[in-house]
């Protein structure tokens, strides 16, 4: 909760409200499921809040949701909510159990009548350098570990609380309930090592169905894992080849792939006449796609190319060939020179930092984009 949606380039207030509420709706969906299925307990493996954006409202709503769930809720904090903001002023209900900064075992339901050992640990700093799993060990009873960590096999970014999958195999833990990676992933079974992912995607990178796992344990063995969807707003990756396509056929194919109402990350590949329209009449084209699919285009990547073969055209000696060759010059520039070449005007100094913040791939893709677009312009038949 709290982390705002990212990379939606067209904003309207109504949609914005839905986006903000969708994270809470996802939490409600988890609680609804827990109540309907009469679960024993719920596990939250960290990054429930984003401390940088956290609001009292989100913590209040979280506390209310836990209260509504009624069952015990095990909580381990992660790198985003390690600060435990608002903890003093808005307290969680008694059924919430928050793991401290060193691993502890809080058996369920209690030591005397326990049916499972639940061992957990929370982050103490944003960039937790410890291998938190080292402090965790299970028992002869069914043992669950709750930890927010970055397993070597699945990390996609910076490492937080690094851990090794191989070391998890010998800890007498039957189920590792992990947090940190937003993409759903069952890394290992018996013992189970599971990232359920987040409950609501918030950017084009977090595409696909989002939700949680309903885990059934019988006689000390994980019997079933049911994934249930909680995210109301779906982010979808759609890749479309334009080669040989007409506008109608292209729109129809996108419609078939896109789920109505979802946010699309639309990526075009191939070569064809439509490349020019996509590039030179981008807004018109986006509008057409959105009308046809009933989706919102959150991101449009034009990796397609013109019908003409740029390499062949390079040797013709005309102006277009000169443009193709000039692209090489920019593509070979170092970052600073390239950015300076882009930001040559006085006004552009105010946006220079945006280019400076771009990754190399993104920055240099602009060169290719410019080259292809320019070729499209120069070869456009305007008659």
């Amino acid at each position: 909760m709290d982390t705002p949606f990212k990379n939606i380039s067209e904003y309207d207030p109504e949609l914005g409200g839905k986006m903000v509420d969708s994270a809470f709706a996802a939490l409600d969906a988890v609680v609804d499921k827990a109540i309907a299925e009469k679960v024993d307990f719920i596990i939250f493996s960290g990054d429930i809040f984003d401390t940088d954006y956290g609001t009292p409202r989100s913590r209040y709503l979280f506390a209310e949701a836990l209260k509504r769930a009624g069952v015990r809720c095990y909580i381990a904090y992660g790198n985003h909510d390690y600060k435990r903001k608002w903890e003093d002023s808005i307290q969680l209900p008694p059924n919430a159990v928050v793991f401290p900064e060193h691993a502890v075992n809080i058996p369920y339901p209690d030591e005397e009548n326990k049916i499972a050992d639940v061992i957990g640990i929370s982050h103490s700093v944003k960039e937790e350098g410890r291998d938190l799993t080292e402090e965790i060990s299970g028992s002869a009873d069914f043992s669950i570990a709750v930890v927010h960590c970055d397993l070597d096999t699945v990390s996609e970014g910076r490492r937080y609380a690094p851990a090794r999958l191989s070391s998890l195999m010998h800890k007498k833990i039957d189920y590792w309930a992990l947090g940190h990676i937003h993409k759903r992933n069952i890394i290992h079974k018996f013992p189970h090592v599971v990232y359920p992912g987040n409950t609501q995607g918030r950017s084009p990178r977090e595409s696909g169905e989002k939700g949680a796992y309903l885990v059934t344990v019988s006689n000390g063995v994980v019997e079933d894992m049911e994934f249930f969807r909680t995210g109301l707003m779906l982010w979808q990756d759609v890749e479309q080849d334009i080669t040989g396509k007409t506008m109608d056929s292209l729109l129809s194919e996108i419609s078939e792939k896109a789920e109505r109402g979802s946010f699309l990350k639309l990526r075009f590949t191939g070569r064809g006449e439509l490349d020019r329209m996509i590039r030179l009449q981008r807004d018109v084209f986006k509008d057409l796609v959105e009308r046809k699919t009933g989706c919102r285009i959150a991101r449009l990547e034009v990796n397609s190319g013109p019908l003409i073969d740029l390499e062949q055209r390079r040797s013709t000696g005309d102006f277009t060939s000169a443009v193709i060759s000039s692209g090489d010059v920019f593509a070979e520039m170092d970052r600073d020179r390239l950015i300076s070449a882009i930001c040559g005007t006085k006004a552009s100094a105010s946006v220079r930092h945006i280019f400076e913040a771009m990754a190399d791939d993104e920055l240099y893709s602009m060169v290719e984009d410019a080259r292809i677009t320019l070729v499209e312009r120069l070869t456009e038949d305007r008659s």
Binding site: D2, P4, F5, K6, N7, I8, S9, E10, Y11, P13, G16, G17, M19, V20, D21, Y53, G54, T55, P56, R57, S58, Y60, W86, D88, S89, I90, R282, G317, D318, F319, T320, A322, V323, S325, S326, V329, F330, A341, I342, C343, G344, T345, K346, A347, S348, S350, V351, I354, F355, E362, M366, V367, D369, A370, T373, L374, R377, L378, E380, R382
Partner: protein, 768 residues
């Protein structure tokens, strides 16, 4: 193509005028102002390329004439003009169709007066530029540049950020959103402060409420105390009264009870002693003797009764035993132990042991013999014989005993009944012996009774009592017992009287001791009364105290102190409590508002969206910027290596006219014509009128070289008027150069213009 002849029937001021055998190369036509130079030029160009735009000279119905032209292939055409219409005499196509040239282009490139020369539109037209002034593919560059530039500008102003453009607008929005987010965060961040403040206010409120509670209770208590003031006064009055009674406090109930008991007891004793009067007792010795006698009599009577009972029993026993002996018909002498022993011996002494031994031996002998003879028969016969012998022997012995018994005086008795008979004899013997002993006892008892009677009689005599002689001892005992009882009663009463007297005296002493403390019985009884009052007063005081304590929670002393206290009724916390409650409500409202407030999330999402949009727009702008840069680089790169031939030719002409100072900037990105020297570039706005004429003339001549399917004649009407001498010479040299392979008609009002041509130049000169 070249013009071979011109014939004017009527056109402007011309009437029936002609010029024939016009040579190739340069024809210089001079004439004064209004000599008809422009009219002639107009006739020539509007006849070759007719147009409706002509305004000079004024069209007339008489306009007519003809021109003979010859194509480069040698074909001749005669163009017949009637008013504006032109036709070829033999019906051939007119030059505009033949040479793919429209009249406007011809008039702006080939046949020009000074105004036409300086008309830049012709050479700026897309068609001219694309065809003559750019390299292949570069013709779209200006438009692309324009498109890219306008797109860039639409996104972000080149010079300064303004809100009219999306990037500027987004930056402004982001700044505004950042401010709103900061405000929202500030509101959120205040939540902790609100929570802490709420806790502090609650604590303060709790403290004040407690204080107010104390104040309220104190007031309530004080009111209660005041309400109990009269009761307190009554209590104090009772306590004062109690002081006067307190001396009786030590007088215990037990003492008082004891006093009552003593008084009552003494009264009773007094009455009882009076009732007893005087009592006279027996002499002590007499009394003792009497009691001893009574005791003896009782013992005598008990013993007498026992002996008489015993004597009777003995008599009964004797009678019973005698009756038994008589019934047994055996005298006592025959039952003596010696006699019984003899009978027993007699009954046993019959020789039977010898007989039995003989019989045993005989039996054993027979048994042994039976082993050697007829065993069974022999044994049977022997047994029968033995039985017979035994029977005979036994019968003889029984008879002998019976006879002895009879001889002794005993009844006849069989030997087997001896034991029971002996027992009977023993019983007879015992009865006889008991009779003897009982008679002795009776005799002794009778003697003792007689002795006792004697003793009693003697005692009574001694006492002088008359007794019933029939039963003297009983009678005596009765008399004596009555006397003893009477004396005992007297003794008892005497003892009692003594006892009462003693008790009375003791009680009197105790009473005296008791009342003396209080000054006698009167004082004691007053003390009793006072004590009773004291106790009642104590109860009342206790009740009053309890009542006061219950009502006020204070002891009477505390009440006194409380009543004496100076109380400040102005102390009150209610206003402060009300204010704090209000603050608490406001804080709660603020906290609730913060909890309900989802603005931050929306603002952040909106900011992210705006940021993403800004990044996208900036990327779009950056891509456009790169497109511009690529075009720049391409142009710079391309035109540094190659130029269109027209540009090269024009530069040559311009160089001739400006003595090599200026050349054209061939960059197709330029929307207007720019020249450059070694120092600077100059746009048309920086040209002098003469320089402009030279630039346009150079370009148009160069274009005229390339344009059309044939090299069309160039007609220049007074275009050198703004040239200085040097430039004019340069221009003339350029025109002469042009005219090497293309016909030129140069009109001039200046007759000296021919001097501007290089010396030795052969000119076809015409003077109008």
């Amino acid at each position: 193509m070249r013009i071979r002849s011109i014939r004017i029937g009527s056109f402007g001021k011309y009437r029936e005028w002609s010029m024939t055998d016009i040579p190739e190369g340069l024809t210089l036509i001079t004439g004064d102002n209004e000599s008809g130079k422009t009219t002639l030029m107009e006739f020539m160009r509007s006849t070759m390329f007719p147009t409706s735009r002509r305004s000079y000279p004024v069209p007339a119905k008489t306009d007519s004439g003809s021109m003979e032209i010859e194509t480069e292939s040698g074909e001749r055409m005669t163009l017949i003009r009637e008013q504006r219409k032109v036709h070829e005499i033999s019906g051939k196509k007119l030059p505009d169709e033949t040479f793919a040239m429209d009249s406007d282009t011809y008039r702006s490139i080939f046949a020009m007066d000074l105004a036409d020369l300086t008309d830049a539109n012709a050479i700026s037209s897309e068609r001219i530029r694309n065809r003559f002034l750019t390299i292949p593919g570069g013709e779209k560059v200006p438009q692309v540049i324009k498109d890219v530039g306008s797109s860039k500008t639409a996104l972000m102003n080149e010079d300064r950020i303004t809100e009219r453009n999306p990037i500027g607008s987004l930056q402004t929005s982001l700044t505004e959103l950042d401010r709103k987010i900061a405000d929202a965060r500030e509101r959120d961040s205040e939540y902790d402060a609100y929570a802490k403040e709420t806790e502090a206010v609650k604590a303060e409120l709790s403290r004040l409420v407690k204080m107010q509670d104390i104040i309220d209770k104190d007031r309530e208590r004080r009111n209660g105390i005041l309400a109990q003031a009269s009761n307190l006064e009554r209590l104090r009055s009772m306590e004062s009264r109690r002081v006067g009674l307190e001396y009786a406090a030590d007088l215990s109930d037990a003492t008082q009870n004891r006093y009552g008991v003593i008084m009552h007891r003494m009264s009773v004793l007094n009455g009882a002693m009076e009732d007893h009067g005087d009592i006279e007792l027996m002499d002590g010795d007499f009394w003792n003797g009497l009691r001893e006698l009574q005791s003896d009599l009782r013992a005598f009577i008990r013993e007498y009764e026992q002996m008489t009972d015993r004597r009777e029993q003995l008599k009964d026993s004797i009678a019973e035993d005698e009756e038994y002996i008589e019934e047994s018909r055996i005298s006592a002498e025959l039952s003596s132990p010696e006699k019984r022993m003899e009978i027993l011996e007699r009954s046993k002494n019959t020789g039977m042991p010898y007989v039995s031994l003989i019989l045993l031996i005989a039996g054993l002998g027979l048994a042994a013999a039976s082993f050697y003879f007829e065993r069974l028969l022999l044994v049977a016969g022997a047994v029968l014989a033995i039985i017979g012998v035994y029977g005979l022997i036994k019968s003889k012995m029984d008879k002998k005993f019976e006879r002895w018994m009879e001889s002794q005086g005993y009844p006849s008795l069989k030997r087997d009944r001896v034991p029971s008979f002996l027992m009977k004899l023993e019983m007879v013997y015992e009865a006889s012996r008991r009779i003897t002993n009982s008679r002795k006892d009776i005799e002794h008892i009778s003697e003792t009774i007689d002795s006792m009677n004697t003793r009693v009689s003697q005692a009574l005599d001694y006492l002088g009592m008359e007794i019933d002689q029939k039963d003297p001892m009983v009678s005596a005992l009765d008399i004596i017992s009555k006397e003893v009882e009477a004396e005992e009663e007297r003794i008892r009463r005497h003892d009692k009287l003594n006892e009462m007297t003693e008790e009375f005296e003791t009680l009197a002493d105790e009473l005296e001791s008791m009342v003396s403390v209080y000054g006698g019985m009167g004082g004691f009884e007053k003390a009793c009364s006072d004590r009773s009052e004291l106790l009642g007063l104590d109860r009342e005081i206790r009740t009053a105290r309890e009542s006061l304590m219950s009502a006020t929670g204070l002891t009477p002393d505390e009440m006194d102190a409380a009543l004496d206290e100076d109380v400040d009724d102005s102390i009150d916390m209610k206003d402060e409590i009300s204010e704090l409650n209000k603050t608490l409500g406001e804080l709660g409202e603020k906290m609730d508002r913060t909890l309900r407030d989802g603005d931050l999330g929306k603002l952040q999402t909106e900011r992210n969206a705006k940021w993403a949009e800004l990044v996208e727009k900036v990327k779009e702008w950056g891509t456009l910027s790169l497109e511009e840069s690529m075009i720049d680089l391409s142009c710079s790169d391309l035109y540094s290596k190659m130029q269109p031939s027209v540009i090269e030719t024009a530069n040559r002409y311009l160089g001739m006219m400006t003595n090599g100072r200026y050349s054209l900037d061939p960059d197709p990105r330029l929307e207007e014509i720019v020249i450059k020297d070694s120092v600077q570039h100059k746009t048309s706005r920086q040209w002098s009128s003469g320089l402009g004429d030279q630039v346009y003339l150079s370009i148009k001549m160069a274009v005229a070289k390339e344009m059309g399917s044939e090299r069309l004649p160039m007609i220049l009407d007074d275009i050198l008027v703004r040239f200085d001498q040097d430039r004019r010479r340069g221009a003339c040299a350029a025109i002469l150069d042009f005219a090497k392979d293309q016909q030129v008609f140069l009109f001039s009002c200046d007759s000296t213009v021919e001097n501007a041509f290089p010396s030795g130049t052969v000119l076809n000169k015409v003077r109008l």
